[in-house]
């Protein structure tokens, strides 16, 4: 198969033999059976009777497993939660299994990012093919890397030592060609389950702002489970979804028009980017990052429009990875059609006014799971979803911007004044509020948990409330900048740390946050301007949605009522979200 795509163990030659599978099931009988079955497939099996143990194992041995198979119903932790966490932190494919094949359950699994859902009793033949999920992921990553690198090179030339301020926009043609390629490829890979929500998928332009949000989110939670578009088909047995992980990020970002796919693809690229930068940074001055981060934040604090995305820039060189801000951002070509293209296209939007070309890619209208769930529309029992309720009590976060009101519009997300001045060259301008320096949210596994939780909750919360969740999560994340655990070979981690991401740029974050809260519009097509109205002011981000003005803009269908019940999602037994310690996003996320 393809070259070593990250398999750390030397089993590439005989792939899929030697596939490292982690099985999690509280039922000892099934655990024994599955172990035997997997061994017969020549896989390397590790079994866990507790979700908690599984998470520990995964965290301790980053990159030590290729795929996770987990039961849905477990006493110590909901399988969906585990699914989300794994997707977020480790970005591994996760297969769910259960004796219960109810459509709603299966759907929930899909929504949470499961790449497959098996019904017990499980047959050997079903297990024999699980390697495809691993393979698929790798392929996507490779693709993302290519895109990213393509973009990067463009960036590099332009960016130089520029401040972040402007997101660089890739040359139309560069992007186009890349995008085209991706689009084409992705078309066939994308496991898009059909958009029921909307057919039009705008391209996502990963402006600096957007990227900042992304990074914040990533830092905060780690990985979000991917939200999948609503699934129409009857789910009888296996559902295969390509991605896991981005959902949480999506939720945290609280960008309504952004889809999980967008985030997923961006995430992959980001990781690849980070690791690449890491290498490069090693040669550059490592300390740069810190100070940079500060500045942008400050800048951004006030001026959403003016600064924007460039804030990321501070990521400076040392921080290579984070520099999404200028260089890293790749302009997304809008390819309404392919998810991949959307995702993969990163847009670097020039922060500067003159350059801004933020294109908001409104991901397909299909309602991403996140929107449904996070936005308060729990698709499935919110159990595994972010538990806003929990968040409520746990994380009161002050957001300067709180009170963002999202207009319930199906479409346009109107950026508030701050943004409005940003020129939108015919595109939606989605400027993320200053992007606080992208904290290298690589959080070590352990800590990530809390962040995840919060992130999730934040995200969800935000989503429904249209509050830029990222503020909270990001805060934490930034704090913890160097946390985490990066997988053993992650190069990005070290760089991040060196970068000095200034995790303490939280304050900056906040200010930037203000701007960033584009609000979580559910997937309204972002064809038009995103309208985000937010009400600056102190805001307590209680995920309980107390201060959040719920976004109206959400498509009613999507978010009928912000489900405060998102709470449950967060209910892992993680401690409450402690703002001071945001979980760092698992480095694995970033490690390609």
């Amino acid at each position: 198969m393809m070259e070593n795509n990250g398999f750390s163990s030397p089993r590439n030659d005989s792939f899929p033999a030697g596939l490292r599978v982690l099985v999690v099931d509280d039922d000892p009988t099934w655990l024994k059976i599955l172990e035997k079955m997997l061994k017969k497939c020549s896989y390397e099996v590790t079994t866990c009777g507790l979700a908690r143990d599984a998470l520990n194992l995964l965290r301790e041995r980053k990159g030590g497993y290729d795929i996770v198979i987990s039961d849905v119903y477990m006493p110590d932790m909901d399988g969906f939660k585990l699914l989300e966490l794994v997707g977020l932190e480790m970005d591994l494919p996760v297969i769910m299994m259960s004796v219960d094949g109810e459509t709603s359950r299966v759907m929930k699994g899909v929504q949470h990012g499961a790449c497959d859902y098996l019904l017990k009793p499980i047959r050997m033949k079903e297990l024999r093919n699980i390697w495809q999920h691993v393979f698929r992921k790798k392929i996507h990553e490779v693709r993302d890397i290519e895109i990213l690198e393509g973009n990067e090179s463009f960036q590099m030339t332009r960016n130089g030592s520029d401040q972040y301020e402007d997101g660089h926009v890739l040359c139309g043609e560069d992007l186009t060609s890349i995008n085209k390629r991706k689009h084409f490829e992705s078309k066939h890979d994308e496991k898009d389950t059909g958009d029921s929500i909307s057919t039009k998928k705008a391209r996502v332009v990963w402006s600096v702002d957007l990227h900042q949000k992304f990074v914040k989110a990533v830092n905060q939670i780690g990985f979000d489970t991917t939200s999948l578009p609503s699934f129409d088909g009857a789910m009888t047995g296996s559902v295969c979804l390509a991605e896991v992980g981005p959902k949480k990020i999506l939720d945290m970002m609280n960008v309504p028009w952004l889809t999980r796919e967008n985030v997923a693809s961006h995430l992959q690229k980001y990781r690849l980017y980070l690791s690449r930068l890491q290498k490069e940074n090693d040669f550059k001055n490592p300390a740069g990052g810190i100070k940079q981060s500060d500045s942008p934040l400050r800048d951004s604090a006030g001026s959403f429009g003016s600064q924007n995305s460039i804030n990321l820039q501070h990521n400076d060189v040392s921080n290579g990875s984070y520099i999404f801000s200028g260089s890293s951002l790749v302009v997304h070509n809008g390819d309404p059609r392919s998810h991949d293209s959307d995702r993969k296209r990163l847009v670097s939007t020039p922060v500067e006014e003159p350059k801004r070309t933020l294109t908001v890619n409104v991901p397909n209208p299909r309602i991403p799971r996140s929107s449904q769930m996070e936005f308060g529309q729990p698709l499935a029992p919110p159990q595994s979803e972010v538990d806003f309720g929990a968040l409520d009590s746990t994380f009161p976060t002050k957001y300067p911007w709180c009170g963002i009101q999202l207009k319930k519009e199906h479409n346009p997300l109107h950026l508030n004044d701050e943004f409005s001045h940003l020129p939108l060259p015919g595109q939606k301008q989605l400027t993320q509020a200053d992007y606080p320096q992208p904290a290298p949210a690589i959080s070590s596994a352990p800590s990530s948990t809390p962040s995840h939780n919060e992130y999730r909750s934040n995200v969800n919360h935000a989503r429904s409330t249209a509050i830029a969740v990222d503020s909270s999560p990001i805060q934490t994340k930034t704090d913890v900048a160097n946390h985490q655990a990066v997988e053993p070979n992650s190069k990005s981690t070290p760089s991040l740390e060196n970068q000095g991401f200034n995790m303490n740029s939280i304050t900056e974050f906040e200010s930037s946050r203000k701007n960033i809260n584009l609000g979580m519009l559910p997937f309204t097509t972002l064809e038009e301007d995103l309208q985000v109205c937010w009400v600056p002011g102190d805001c307590y981000m209680n995920l309980g949605l107390q201060n959040i003005e719920v976004l109206e803009y959400f498509d009613p269908g999507l978010i009928t009522d912000v489900p405060v019940n998102l709470n449950d999602g967060l209910r892992f037994d993680y401690e409450f979200y402690d703002p001071t310690e945001y979980s760092l996003i698992d480095q694995s996320l970033f490690i390609a």
């Binding site: 000892p28 009988t29 059976i33 219960d100 017990k120 009793p121």
Partner: protein
């Protein structure tokens, strides 16, 4: 009984378990998994199942004594029990579990309790018959027990 007869007996016994709807395809899968590395795999799995299910049955019983009944909890326990039953291919037991869960969802305590009694009966029957089967299989010789050439 000579070896051949024993083997035939084993085969017939097994077949009857299937015919009576007590076992399903999963049991055969277990047999297929049995090999030199795990020559007693089926029996080990079944024993594991008994242990785990005994615990679950006890949980359910306790829960059924509560008043009022906590259907959610009952459903949860039964879900686990059903999962365990599915692991060895206990077909009839599994069907009763599904019925039990239906009653729980409907909040029907009476139906739940009745069904549970039925579950216990089926469970006991299967256990007994399987034990007979395994003994017979042992007598007939390891090669003959639930082992298929793989």
């Amino acid at each position: 009984m000579d070896r051949n007869q024993l083997r035939r007996q084993v085969a017939l016994t097994k077949q009857s378990l299937f015919d009576q709807g007590l076992l399903d395809e999963q049991f055969i899968q277990l047999e297929d998994l049995q090999d030199d590395a795990n020559p007693n795999f089926v029996e080990e799995v079944v024993s594991l199942h008994y242990r785990d299910s005994a615990r679950l049955i006890s949980n359910i019983e306790k829960a059924l004594e509560k008043n009022p009944l906590d259907f959610k909890m009952l459903d949860g326990y039964m879900h686990q029990f059903k999962g365990s039953s599915s692991s060895i291919g206990a077909k009839k037991v599994k069907a009763e579990c599904t019925l039990f869960r239906e009653y729980c969802k409907a909040g029907n305590g009476e139906g739940s309790m009745r069904t549970f009694q039925q579950i216990k009966k089926e469970y006991a029957t299967l256990k007994r018959k399987l034990e007979t089967y395994f003994q017979l299989a042992k007598q007939a010789g390891p090669a003959d027990t639930a082992c298929r050439p793989k």
